[in-house]
Subunit: 193 residues, 2 copies
């Protein structure tokens, strides 16, 4: 895959719209060409096919998540507060890029077949969050966990699926409300104190 010039890259977000709306299978290269304004021949000049366009969009969106998560992880405050910030950050990115996120999550099952994507989710989310969970043990703001890896994945899932449920049903995503529901669940649990 050749380096994609930025003026071309920006146009591609229209393709995410198509993927999210109709699914990858139902989206024709001609449709992508029409929606982005990039001629078919040019698309094939840069990408081997739809899959690679999809992978490109994923990489972009995941970079965004990685950046926001990194900022949240490295911010001030207790580990618990920073974890809350991570949740908020993920919701923010998802709200900003609903189409890409719908397409991304729609293809999550393919993560296994696109090892690069799986590795990116790992590096962008699981690793920093897992480190954060360990920080929390150190600063006393989070409990000791026997399996921080699984917990990091569960937190990611809680945020992702609940946000996605709103996005795919076309309900407006009330970030603040969802953030507070998920944060309370994750930090305080469902059992009364």
């Amino acid at each position: 895959m050749r380096t994609v010039p930025s003026h071309t890259a920006v146009k591609l977000s229209a393709a995410a719209e198509l993927f999210a709306e109709h699914g990858v299978e139902q989206t024709k290269m001609e449709d992508i060409a029409a929606a982005t304004g990039i001629p078919k021949a040019t698309l094939y000049y840069y990408f081997a096919g739809k899959e690679e366009i999809l992978a490109f969009l994923f990489r972009d969106a995941l970079n965004r998540v990685a950046d926001e998560v990194a900022i949240a992880v490295e911010s001030e405050g207790s580990a618990a507060a920073r974890l809350a910030e991570v949740i908020r950050a993920q919701l923010r990115v998802m709200a900003e890029q609903p189409a890409v996120c719908r397409a991304l999550v729609g293809e999550l099952g393919r993560a296994g077949r696109i090892p690069e994507i799986a590795a990116m989710i790992h590096a962008a989310y699981y690793e920093p969050v897992q480190a954060l969970l360990e920080d929390g043990v150190a600063d006393g703001s989070l409990r000791q966990l026997s399996d921080p890896g699984s917990v990091a994945m569960a937190v990611f899932g809680a945020v992702t699926i609940s946000a996605l449920s709103y996005l795919v049903t076309d309900q407006a995503l009330d970030q603040e409300r969802l953030a507070s529901a998920v944060t309370t669940l994750v930090l305080d649990g469902l059992r009364p104190r």
Copy 2:
């Protein structure tokens, strides 16, 4: 879609394998015919196309989840204990049907385009769990929540994505370990008590 005879239905699980492994798009009807032993003409006799085969597999898997969840919800014990049982039930079904679950979650983004599936997840999971959350408030085993709907989705996501992460990376899914990690997260939260 005609009623699918059971001797045909059982063979279709081989198709789930293909969908999970290569994705729907990359799976040819001929491949499905070869893998299931059902001739192409017969497949088209019963289903309008791949999508309908997929929907059929989903319906089947979701019925299983719905059954197991219903049993867990209606079991004895506090709402908190029953919620833990729901989590265990979902992990059990996912471990039993890894291929269908990978395909199902891989196509979750399409839920919006397959309203029937979205409705089934709602009826099979969100509604009973939400009712359970309300039971918990009544019996005092769970806290009062401002947004039980979002919390039900978040719990579903926590279980689904963490289990999927194991399934797509081909790591063995240690149900007991994951169940305990997720249950602790959901019931007790991450903040030390």
